[in-house]
């Protein structure tokens, strides 16, 4: 106001300087009179304002400072959880057997709802298929907060829920293991629990190879919600793309399971196992146990199924062990392939009667070659062969084969095979006599396969294994396990025994494993089931067959064990041999193995 007055007075001053000067003087006078109070007022207001601001600043910075700082940190800090999944498991062909996926847990907190419970229920209803409207409202009424509505919502469903932008609903992300092949590889892969920890199979035993440390990095967030990346440590998001490759072949595994379950259905068997192994290095191409479970829904199954009984359970191998005994005897020099043994059909040792399985129908078979003994699976013949050996030497040979020890397979809970102690074994003749036809000691199907692989590969005891190594996405191997091998038979012995085993398939009990054009060696086995506390379960038997092929250049060993077949004529030759045949046929097809040339020549 005073300014305009001033202006006015100046403009007038130009024309009438003198008069205006007087006027101006008057106004100046007025201004002069009022200014100290006004100035003081302005000064007081300004000072008060400054003091107020200062006070507020003191209050915010000093008094409430730490508390506000904490609040700000909470708002600004964001948990950066990069996607670091557990390493996938793949088969030898790169098919994924187990991989991680993200799932969401859905919680409802009714006390935070901004709209009515009914409205929330109506909006959620088309997304949550497990609920109906009443059930949802009823759930909301139960608790004030923390109501879990779903445990494993897929990402797409979680997206739909977050798009609703409803207050009071919380989605918590977590990892879940997904087994696309369902029950096909369950015995090998095992499963992971809700904490994402392996509980069976490779998931359990190879936890270190599969796990990647989960990073949970705290970062600051800008006002618009975006992350301030300056604190992101270098390489935080750089995750290796390694996968755990197994030696298994998905196609063969499928064929093996199909062959095993078909025979098990046919003979109404209690359980069964089939394993295919590359005899050169011990890598397992297929490992199947029946019955099995779906690792995606492991909670619905009996705990008993989670162990792989081909690795954990012992059984008396029976006649399938005879070729191993023959190899021991050949190596010890107590027999030659041309040795002739008199099979009386029945023999009494230490007061125990031992007879052949066909003694009551056939009686004694008389003089037989070693190959014939194997073909007819003669118990008496075997007892006579092994009785030529010193009991201590026989015991030591069995120990040398690793009987009584673990095979060190990379699956969990392996049981070492069982052999009586040396004192017991050597004190009576009956012990080595029963051992000669595969009873009185017990081993796992994997151990039996390992021993037969030694016959196939020139006498080397290889370590059966399933883990092939860690490979990246381009297939480059970054880590490989190392395994030990041990020479247990001479190459000459193993070749001779293998040829004898071929005659078992061509002329003996293993005819049902024969494949035209291919040279296959094998041995049947039908053993009584031993009671845990000694003795045998009447009527219960365990049938098995071990096959090796091609005989001219042994590459694969296959074992099929069927426990307690309860229907029809159940023997190793009728139950297990057809399984090995079906698996071998699939293997020939998958590997594209040409027929044996010698066989073709014969034709």
């Amino acid at each position: 106001m005073s300014n305009s007055k001033r202006k006015l007075s100046f403009s007038k001053k130009k024309s009438k300087p003198r008069k205006k000067t007087i006027q101006s003087d008057n106004s100046q006078q007025k201004h002069h009179n009022s200014s100290p109070i006004r100035l003081l007022l302005v000064w007081i207001i300004l000072i008060l304002g400054a003091l107020g601001l200062g006070g507020r600043l003191y209050y915010l910075q000093i008094v409430k400072g730490p508390e506000l700082q904490k609040k700000a940190r909470e708002q600004q800090t964001v948990n950066l959880r990069p996607y670091i999944p557990r390493r996938p498991i793949i088969d030898s062909q790169g098919n994924i057997l187990a991989s991680d996926k993200l799932v969401y847990e859905l919680f409802a907190h009714p006390k935070l709802f901004k709209v009515s419970k009914e409205e929330i229920a109506t909006k959620l209803l088309p997304i949550l298929s497990d609920y109906n409207r009443e059930k949802l409202i009823e759930k909301f009424a139960k608790q004030e907060s923390g109501i879990r509505l779903a445990y494993t919502l897929p990402e797409l469903v979680a997206d739909k829920i977050s798009r609703l932008s409803l207050d009071g609903l919380e989605l918590i992300q977590r990892y879940s293991r997904f087994y696309p092949q369902q029950e096909m590889f369950a015995d090998v892969t095992g499963y992971v629990n809700l904490e994402h920890l392996g509980q069976a199979g490779i998931e359990f035993s190879q936890q270190k190879l599969l796990e990647r440390s989960l990073l949970n990095h705290k970062l600051r967030r800008a006002g618009n919600g975006s992350i301030v990346p300056e604190e992101v440590p270098e390489g935080l998001l750089k995750v290796d793309d390694l996968q755990l490759q197994l030696t298994l072949d998905a196609r063969l595994q499928r064929a093996t399971r199909a062959a095993l379950s078909k025979q098990m259905r046919k003979f109404n068997a209690k359980r069964g196992a089939a394993i295919v192994m590359d005899v050169r290095d011990g890598s397992i191409l297929a490992l199947v146990c029946q019955p099995t479970y779906d690792p995606n829904k492991y909670g619905k199954y009996n705990l008993e199924l989670f162990k792989n009984w081909a690795v954990t359970d012992l059984y008396e191998p029976g006649s399938t062990f005879k070729p191993i005994n023959v190899a021991i005897a050949l190596d010890a020099g107590v027999i030659t392939p041309n040795t002739i043994i008199n099979d009386t059909g029945k023999i009494k040792i230490d007061g125990w009667n031992i007879h052949n399985h066909d003694y009551f129908s056939r009686g004694g078979r008389g003089s037989m070659s070693i190959a014939k003994i194997l073909q007819h699976s003669s118990n008496v013949g075997m007892v006579k062969i092994m009785s030529r050996m010193n009991r201590h030497d026989y015991y030591n040979s069995l120990r040398k084969l690793g009987i009584g020890e673990k095979v060190s397979i990379d699956l969990p809970w392996e049981t070492p095979s069982y052999l009586k102690n040396k004192k017991v074994f050597t004190s009576r003749s009956i012990e080595p006599a029963t051992a000669s036809f595969g009873q009185g000691f017990s081993l796992t199907p994997v151990k039996l396969l390992q021993l037969h692989a030694a016959i196939a590969n020139g006498g080397k005891l290889v370590t059966p294994h399933i883990v092939s190594g860690l490979v990246d996405s381009s297939g480059k191997v970054h880590w490989q396990p190392t395994f030990t091998t041990k020479q247990v038979f001479s190459p000459e012995t193993s070749r001779k025994v293998l040829e004898m085993m071929e005659t078992v398939v061509t002329e003996g009990s293993g005819k049902s494993a024969q494949i035209e054009g291919y040279r296959i060696g094998g041995k049947t086995g039908t053993a009584q089931k031993a009671r845990p506390r000694g003795g045998y379960i009447p009527g219960a038997k365990i049938t098995s067959f071990v096959g090796i092929f091609p005989v001219d250049s042994p590459r694969y060993a296959v074992v099929a064990v069927v426990d307690e077949p309860r229907r029809g004529m159940a023997f190793g030759s009728t139950v297990a041999a057809p399984i090995v045949r079906a698996i071998s046929e699939a293997l020939i097809g998958i590997q594209g193995m040409p027929p044996s040339q010698n066989k073709e020549k014969k034709k």
């Binding site: 100046q28 994924i96 991680d100 499928r254 699939a586 594209g592």
Partner: protein, 179 residues
């Protein structure tokens, strides 16, 4: 910083300024109106003279160095402003870029997951369907496979392909029943 020599003002002081200064003087000596009047009339009548222009070279050294400092500091100031803006822009820009790329990474990882899941589930379903009988698919069987002998010149020459060790057969496999 206004120490630079200025060209001498050749026109009279603007009247408003004169009055203002006069008034301020009056404020200072409010009880002597005569002095105020005298000063106004005195200023308006005074002759303005041009001051001699001094060459920068004739300036004292301290003044020259100060002048140099002023001019160079202006340059430094402009450079710093440019640098601050570019650093700020870079900082904000990289943050945005990082966030954009991080979002992209997350989307790609998600696509990878979904693709893997769908692909492997599909494979399993196909294999399961193939296992069911009655769909015309049969398991691979050596009896239904054709194995052809590899063609070799030396086998032609010798006339007996089977006796040569180098002769190999290559299989022609029917397509597998499952993937």
């Amino acid at each position: 910083m206004s120490v630079a020599p200025r060209p001498i003002v050749t026109e009279p002081y603007p009247p408003r300024k004169a009055v203002a200064s006069a008034r301020s003087k009056k404020h200072l000596s409010k009880n002597s109106p005569d002095r105020r009047q005298r000063s106004i009339s005195g200023k308006s009548t005074k002759k303005v003279e041009k001051l001699p222009v001094r060459s920068p070279l004739n300036l004292p050294i301290w003044l020259r160095s100060l002048l140099l400092l002023q001019q160079s500091s202006l340059g430094v100031f402009l450079f710093l402003i440019a640098a601050i803006f570019s650093v700020y822009g870079f900082t904000v820009g990289t943050q945005q870029l990082w966030n954009k790329e991080y979002k992209k990474l997350k989307t790609l990882q998600r696509h990878e997951r979904m693709l893997t899941e769908t692909n492997e589930t599909l494979k399993n379903n196909l294999a399961k369907q193939a296992e069911k009988s009655g769909n015309g698919l049969v398991p691979v069987n050596p009896n239904k496979s054709i194995f052809l002998r590899r063609f070799r010149d030396n086998s032609l020459k010798s006339g007996n392909s089977q006796s040569t060790n180098s002769t190999q057969t290559i299989p022609i496999k029917p397509p597998p029943s499952a993937y």
